[in-house]
C-alpha cells in the first residue's frame, strides 16, 4: 500500500486513495529530524471514533426497539414485561437488521461518496468529519424513512450544510441536523404524525390491521392519555426516531464523552438546566390556573418538567448534537449561554407548536447560527473588563524619579 501511495502521489485521485490508505494503515510519514515536535494522540479520527463508540450501544438498542415497537403495536404490549423475553429477541433484532441497518449503510455510503468527490475536486485529503454525521443521521430519522429520501437529504446536507462552507471544521450548521431539517421540510408526511414511528404502520394504515405508533409527545399534544410508564420512557421502550428513545443510553454516552473529554460538560449541563427551567415555568403556569384543561397547550404544559428530558429527542440532541465542537460556542461562558438557550428553546417549541412537538433540532440549529455571536460578545466582555481593570489600576511611581518620597510623605 505504501508503495502504491507513492506511485499515485500528485495524481487526481490521490486524495481518495490516501483516505483508504490512512483508514486501513497508520501513515508511513514520520516527522523530520530537526526541531521539537508536539504530538497528540487525539487527532480528528480518534475524536470521531470516540463519539462513534458512544453511539454504538444506542444503535444496538434502537435495532431491538424497532422490532419491539413493531410487534407490540400489532400484538399489544406484553404484560409483565421482561427485557430478556420481550425485548432482546431475535425477531426484534431481525426487524432492526432489515430496517435500521440499511439506513446506516445508505447514510454512510452516500455521505462518503460525496466527501470523496469533493476531496478529489478540491485536491485535499478526505476529511473524517462525516464519520460521526453518518452515524447520527440514521439515529434521528423515523424507522420507515424511504432510503432514497435519506440519500437525497444526505447529499443536500453534506453539500449545502458543509462543503459549501469549506468542509469539516468550517460549517456553521450541524450537518446531521441539516439533513434532518431538510427531510422534515421536504417530506413532512414521512417525518411527523402518528404513523411513521413504528415500522409497518404506514403500510397498514387504512386497512383492518391498522396500527398506530404515536409518540409520547404526540399523545400529550392531543391532550390524550398514554400507557407508557416513567421507566419505559427513561430506558427508551417507546416509539420515536430510530435512536432517540433511550434517555438512559444517552446519559451513559454523555458520561462517556465527558470523561473522555470529547464533549463539553458545560453545554450538556446548561442545556439540561435550560430545559428544566422552561418546563418549570410551564408547570407553574398550569398550577396558577392561567390556562384551562381545554387549552390545546394543557397536555404539554402540565407534563412534569423533568419528564421533558426523557421523552423525544431532547436527551439525544443535548448529548450528541449540541456538543458538536465545530458548530457550538467555543468560550466557556459562551457554552453556558449556548447550552442553556438550547434547552430553553427546545421545550418552548415543543409546547407552543403542538403540530410539531419536537423542537430540539430547530433549537440547536438556531443556536448554531448564534454561537459565533455569543462567542463574540463573551470575548468583547472579557476585553472590556480587562481594559477597565487596566484603567483603574494604580501604577506606583518608581523610586528613582523621586515621586515615591512625595507620595510616602503625603500618606504619612
Amino acid at each position: 500500500m505504501h508503495e502504491l501511495k507513492m506511485k499515485y502521489q500528485g495524481k487526481k485521485m490521490a486524495p481518495a486513495f490516501n483516505a483508504f490508505h490512512t483508514f486501513l494503515y497508520s501513515p508511513n510519514e514520520t516527522t523530520h529530524a530537526g526541531g521539537t515536535h508536539v504530538k497528540g494522540a487525539d487527532d480528528l479520527k480518534r475524536t470521531m471514533n470516540t463519539v462513534i463508540m458512544a453511539l454504538v450501544p444506542i444503535l444496538l438498542f434502537s435495532m431491538f426497539n424497532a422490532g419491539y415497537q413493531h410487534f407490540s403495536a400489532i400484538n399489544g404490549f406484553p404484560e409483565n414485561f421482561s427485557v430478556m423475553e420481550h425485548f432482546l429477541t431475535w425477531d426484534n433484532f431481525w426487524i432492526g437488521i432489515v430496517k435500521v441497518l440499511p439506513l446506516v449503510v445508505v447514510s454512510y455510503g452516500i455521505g462518503l461518496i460525496v466527501e470523496f468527490i469533493f476531496a478529489v475536486i478540491k485536491g485535499h485529503e478526505v476529511e473524517e468529519g462525516y464519520l460521526v454525521t453518518g452515524m447520527l443521521v440514521p439515529l434521528i430519522v423515523p424507522v420507515d424513512t424511504p432510503l432514497w429520501m435519506l440519500a437525497v437529504a444526505v447529499v443536500f446536507g453534506v453539500v449545502i450544510g458543509k462543503e459549501v462552507f469549506g468542509g469539516t471544521g468550517m460549517n456553521i450548521l450541524n450537518p446531521a441536523l441539516t439533513i434532518r431539517a431538510f427531510l422534515f421540510f421536504a417530506y413532512p408526511t414521512w417525518m411527523s404524525g402518528d404513523k411513521v414511528w413504528v415500522h409497518g404502520a404506514v403500510d397498514l394504515a387504512g386497512g383492518p390491521d391498522a396500527i398506530s405508533g404515536e409518540t409520547v409527545l404526540g399523545f400529550l399534544a392531543q391532550n390524550k392519555e398514554f400507557q407508557y410508564s416513567v421507566s419505559d420512557m427513561f430506558f427508551g421502550f417507546i416509539p420515536g426516531s430510530v435512536g432517540e428513545t433511550s434517555a438512559f443510553l444517552c446519559l451513559l454516552g454523555g458520561l462517556f464523552l465527558i470523561f473522555s473529554k470529547i464533549a463539553s460538560w458545560r453545554i450538556m449541563v446548561s442545556a439540561v438546566i435550560g430545559s428544566l427551567v422552561m418546563g418549570l415555568v410551564f408547570n407553574q403556569v398550569v398550577e396558577l390556573g392561567w390556562i384551562g384543561e381545554t387549552s390545546k397547550f394543557y397536555g404539554l404544559m402540565s407534563f412534569d418538567f423533568w419528564k421533558h428530558l426523557i421523552v423525544g429527542g431532547l436527551a439525544f440532541g443535548i448529548v450528541y448534537m449540541a456538543t458538536d465542537p465545530v458548530t457550538g460556542a467555543q468560550t466557556n461562558r459562551g457554552k453556558w449561554i449556548y447550552g442553556f438557550l438550547i434547552g430553553f428553546i427546545s421545550v418552548m417549541i415543543r409546547v407552543f407548536n403542538p403540530a410539531y412537538p419536537e423542537g430540539v433540532f430547530l433549537a440547536i440549529l438556531l443556536m448554531n447560527v448564534f454561537a459565533p455571536t455569543i462567542d463574540h460578545y463573551v470575548i468583547r466582555g472579557n476585553v472590556n473588563r480587562r481594559m477597565k481593570r487596566l484603567k483603574n489600576a494604580v501604577i506606583l511611581p518608581k523610586d528613582s524619579d523621586g515621586k515615591a518620597e512625595e507620595l510616602k510623605a503625603e500618606t504619612v
Partner: protein
Amino acid sequence: MGLLTKKDAGLILDPLADNNPITIQVLGICSALAITAELEASVVMAISVIFVLGVGNVVISLMRNIIPSKIRIIVQLIVVATLVIIVDQVLKAFAYELSKTLGAFVGLIITNCIIMGRFEAFALANGPWKSFLDGIGNALGYGVILILVGFFRELLGSGTLFGVPVLGDPIEKTGLYATGYENNGFMIIPPAALIVVGIIIWVQRSRNPALVEEN
C-alpha cells in the same frame, strides 16, 4: 444582429450571463424568492419586469436633462409606479387568477432594486435607444434566472410545469410516483429559492473564475 452595433448587443447580452442582475449584482432577490414556486408566475413576472424596465428606462432617459437631480428619485418612482399600475390592471383584466397568485408582488415591482438601479446607473446618463437596450437586457437577465429557478422549484416541488403534471399523478400513484417518488415540499417554501439561486451562482462562478472576488 444587423440592427445593433457590437456595443449595443453587449448591452443586451452582458446582463444575461456575466453581469446578471440577480446572480452577479445580487439585485432583485426578494421577488426571485417570493414568486418562483410556480413557473407560470415566474414567466409573467419576467414579462412584467421586461415591460416596466424597458419602457421606464426610455422615459427616464428622455427626461434625463430636465429632471432636477435633487428630486430625481421621486420622478423615477412616479414613472415606475405608473408603469406598474398599467401592468397590474392588464393582469387583472386578462389573467385574474394569476394576478391573485402574484398578489402584492406586481405592485412591489416598484421597489425592485434592479429597476431603480438601472434608472440611476444607466438611464440618467445615456440616450433612449441605449437605455432601452440596457433595460431589456437587464430585465431578460432577471427573467432568465427567475424562469430557471421557477422550473426547478415547480418540477421538484409540485411535479408539474406550468401547472401540467409531468411526473405522473401523486394521488393515483402513476408515472414516477409509482416507484415511491414524492414531491419535495421543501422546494415550495421560499428559502428553497435562496438555495437554488445560490447553486446557480456557484455553478456560474466555477465556470468563470473571473467572477470570484479577491478576499
